[in-house]
Amino acid sequence: MKMKITWNTVIAILMTLSVPATSLLAKTSITPEHEAYFEQHIRPALVQYCYDCHSEETGKTRGGLLLDTQDGMLRGGDNGNILSGTNYRDSLFWEAINWLDLEMPPKQAMPTEVIQRFQTWLEMGAPDPRQQEKVTVQSSIDIEAGRNHWAFQTPIATPGATIDSFIADKLKSASLSPVAPADPPTLLRRLNYDLIGLLPSPDEITAFAQAWQRNPQKALTEKVDELLDRPQYGERWGRHWLDVARYAESTGKDVNMTYPQIWRYRDYVFDSFNSDKPYNRFVQEQIAGDLLKVETDAEWQQNLIATGFLAMGTKSLNESNPRQHRMDVADEQIDTMSQAILGLTVSCARCHDHKNDPIPTTDYYALAGIFLSTDTFFGTVKSAQNKRPSRLLELPIVDPMIAKNKYSPADIEQLRQQRSQLIQTRRSNRNNENASQQQLAAIRRRISDIEAKLAQIETDGTPITTAMGVQDARLTGNTTVLLRGDVEKPAQTVSRGFLQVLPGGGSVKINPGASGRKELAAWLTSELNPLTARVMVNRIWLKLFGAGLVTSPNNWGTTGKAPSHPQLLDHLALEFMQQGWSIKKTIKTIVLSKTYQRDSQFDSKNYEQDPDNTHLWRMNPRPMDAETLRDSILTLGNGLDLKRPYGSLVADIGDSRVGRGFNQARLPSNVRYRSVYLPILRDDLPAALGLFDFADPNVSKPKRESTNVPTQALYLMNNPQVLSEASAMAKKLIKQFPSREAQIKHAFMLAYSRPPDARDLAAAKQFFAQYKPVTPDNSNGPRFQNARRSGRRPQNQLQRQAPNRGRRPVGGAMTEQAPNQGRQRGMQPRSGGRRGNRRGDANANTPRIPLMTPEEQTLAVFCQSLMASGEFRQLN
């Protein structure tokens, strides 16, 4: 049988791709007899039968295999080791030369006597004198000197100090006088934003102000506890972690295929924050959850899902070299892990010693050995572009939402029949010269689809519940340094380990049969590790103040910034660990400080001296982030649905390629749940988030950027959803309050968390005097026609918006073709290219503008102005 690279063999290859240095045949010293035998019989045979396709001289490395050096033979090719196996008769090399599963040389087998000589040679243990000069990559880094860098030193405690005392000391020495505390409504707005990402309602503001009058400290403590207990806390802070973890629902890069199962990781993160899972445990689960001891299936399930952290990075799916792909996946994991947890850019050491930090390239490959001993399960479906799909992890507990979409025996039979028919067609087409490549590709794609579908169900038709994650590889071991990162240039083997510059990073004991991730997780979260706790408390500080104590939150190396308050940083880190790595407790300590509660009021004298507010003489005014902006607009309008949606819109679509056929514009944009549940496709973010500085999910992103561009203004002025929410807000106000005065006052309370002042009232008065409601007669925009048109067809709209959840099993099998919604859109007649008035291009998902009375319209435009204004979009 010829070797066919099918879906199943690809999986098998991924499973068996071994770490280069783990061949079962050891390199032993070679006897003169062995050498003579090799030179007389083996080398000539290799030259004659193999070098044509597998040697540097001919420049061909078919199947990634080189047979002209011992190293090449030991490393094997795309199909893994060729000489491995307990017995040479199990080896790929033996199978190939005997034309068993593989047929090599391909056209005609070697003569029997040559095969017999190979047998003799293999029985000798494959002695091979063709050893190249072994390259050893030397490091010139002085690790000992590197340990002197402040961030690698153990944190030092300052007994009796508090956040406020550290801050006060620095303010005093800089002769800065801090501003007054914020008033209760400002403080409540800040707390709500920071802890749950939602604005307080006018009732909550009143209640808080009253409680404050009775006992400020009690009111504050109770409020903080209440907010930390709300499920919205986990969504808010979990999302901060998702920025750092580069969470996304597609691979990004060249092919950009969806990750329909990664939402389970998203929910896991939110749940972990809500249960205040100790941060050390949270890290361990994400690095090695699959290896941790568990008591129940439920725990195991969560731990497996947690390892999605390692699996959801960007992937180059069209990489033709599997070894390169595996290395790239490991590199991405090292990069994200080191930045997210250690605040170090370890990946710089892939090709050479780190240019700035004491991280030799050997340390990088010590870590790489751990990740190369790990298999990553990220899914995606094979296609002409996607050369590197993988399986997913099957979860121990069946998800009832998935299991209920059971395939009937007839369905399965139909799929099987379709598959065999397609395979028949493919066979006949292959021999038919008239069949186009496109036709063949389409057939191949349909076969992949069906096979992927069948792979996702049990024999009885129950869909399998799957997740992205990692497992230890079947073959584990140390790996070699790669010269300048070139996968074809292995140098010396290095023992698996961590970063030597950090305590416990040098000599590490790892069981040869394990990947070492468990040991890595333990080392990362050891209390002796000087970075992990510091990096995390700095992230918390950054989110609460708008700037970290270290302003380069993902780079604590020598090119990063030194902390503004080093002792405070150490104090927080030590307290964090003492309090059981509790994130909630750290947040609570910080928000209960006077420093946090300061007003953001400007002071020209302080500003002149400290314009960046490094000394925290006031609270930093901060722009409202994208999620809170959208959530707040929805809250004020038609209402925000606080219930967690099941799954994700990307899960509803299943496996698909992000591109012209399927993209953000094809997904419903008028869903009403919280923004953290919107579909996050790499290089194609939802407009409501992408326009407002959402974190680019291609890399670990510790801090949001802050831009102020006209495209944001245009969104707030013109986006139909914003208009629709403003209209709902106006209608509610009119229903609730008879007088315009009360409507205005309440609108301010809703949007700004404060009543209007005299200037605001004057502005409102002027607006209501000048604004003339638009009627269809004096409206001149073609879009208005559109709006009216869609207003008459709500049925049709709803149908188009309905997600096709449940029609397809999870991980279903669409490839890069447009999914259903895309197809429907694609079938709409095109507009014929009339410019400026292309009706066909109106997004099918844009909400229609509700009909409004003139009074409603006027107030709606007023409400929209509040949402669009600078004050709404900023936190003081």
């Binding site: 514009a665 290089d683 831009t707 607006f767 879009r783 102005s865």
Partner: protein, 456 residues
Amino acid sequence: MKQLINRRQALQQLSGGLGSLAFATMATEHALAASGPNPLAPKRPHFRARAKHVIFLSMGGAPSHVDTFDYKPQLTADSGKKGKYGPQLLGSPWEFGQHGNSGLWISSLLPHISQHADELCLLRGMHCDQPNHSQASLQTHTGNFQFVRPSMGAWSLYGLGTENTDLPGFIVLGNSRGGINFGSAFLPAVYQGTKVGTPGGRRGGDGSEGTFPNIKNPLLDSQAQRVQLDLIQQLNQNKLHRDQHQPQVEGVIQSYELAFRMQRTMPQLLDLAQESEATKSLYGIGESATTDFGTQCLMARRMVESGVRFIELSSGNWDHHRNLREGMETKCHEIDKPIAGLLTDLKRRDLLKDTLIIWAGEFGRTPHAQGGDGRDHNNKGYTTWMAGGGVKGGFSYGATDEHGYEAVEGRMHIHDWHATILHLLGLDHERLTYRYAGRNFRLTDVHGSVAKEIFS
């Protein structure tokens, strides 16, 4: 008031491409009333400007210089030998030929651009500080690879304002990642780059309405919207009054005024239906490989005509560690015709003399091979080029060593490159400063020397 008249004159000069601007002028007056002098209004340069506009063709991922514009016969001769850093040298798989009256050597990968050899000013002695994409890219844009600093587009706009205050003065087209590359940092927010295209998306603008979302209000006409905008701006002014110092809100105010005016100007600007089929095909629009970049190039020409100061285009995926042969063929094909079309079109409209075209990756690539058919990062020596706006055409400045590893002659660091670009725009890089955190900041920090040798 004087400023207003200047601006009105400027607008009228440009009105040909944009129809009646009476409305826009009215809006401008509103803007001035609402927020003081317009920070985008044209300013006088320090000295005579050789170029008024910049089109920066950004080649993300870093194209190989030794396979495009840096002819290295010695590399071809030594192909297969060990290079100075160990690995085997890889001669360019492509032929080089001499082109134009100037006889500039250009690779056969770029047949269309080669026809414009006499317009090109090759800078073959480039070097920068970092061999990593994100850092080098940040340095190429901002001069600095460590901190958030204003982009050169933002500096240009800050120094010169823009001729058409109804459009953003700094526009970023195509799939450009990394907002910090186009940001204004401590400069006022109004100077940052505005992306045109799907937000966060990789699909570049194709001229359809969809590529500039939210440009029309579905309900309000412009009069009603102006009343609304007056309210928004009054609320913003109130916020400024309450907070005293609020750069964020100042940025909001300016972004609204500009957004309001863009509703009129942008759809016209992006409407490629106004272009003839002949022009479109000149840019390769309609051919699948060249449509994306061709559209960017054609839009850039329209933007130059409309008075946009600084336009950045982007073409990514030049990172050929592997598949150099196939990858370079594909990528060069994607940009060759569009760039040649842009040069032809600008020239025939007499716009090239006022427009500085800059072609650059964030660094170059090694003369030695990586994995047989690839090249690694090389920041020590590479080539960028300029054309139009005051530079010598058919000219080559600087050189790398015999193999193309390192810049050895006419060395031009990114700081020098920035200083030169600003000089061409009539700005002295040492005088273009902004005071922040107690000191004066420059695009070139404390470095930079102007390469006057390349000026025409």
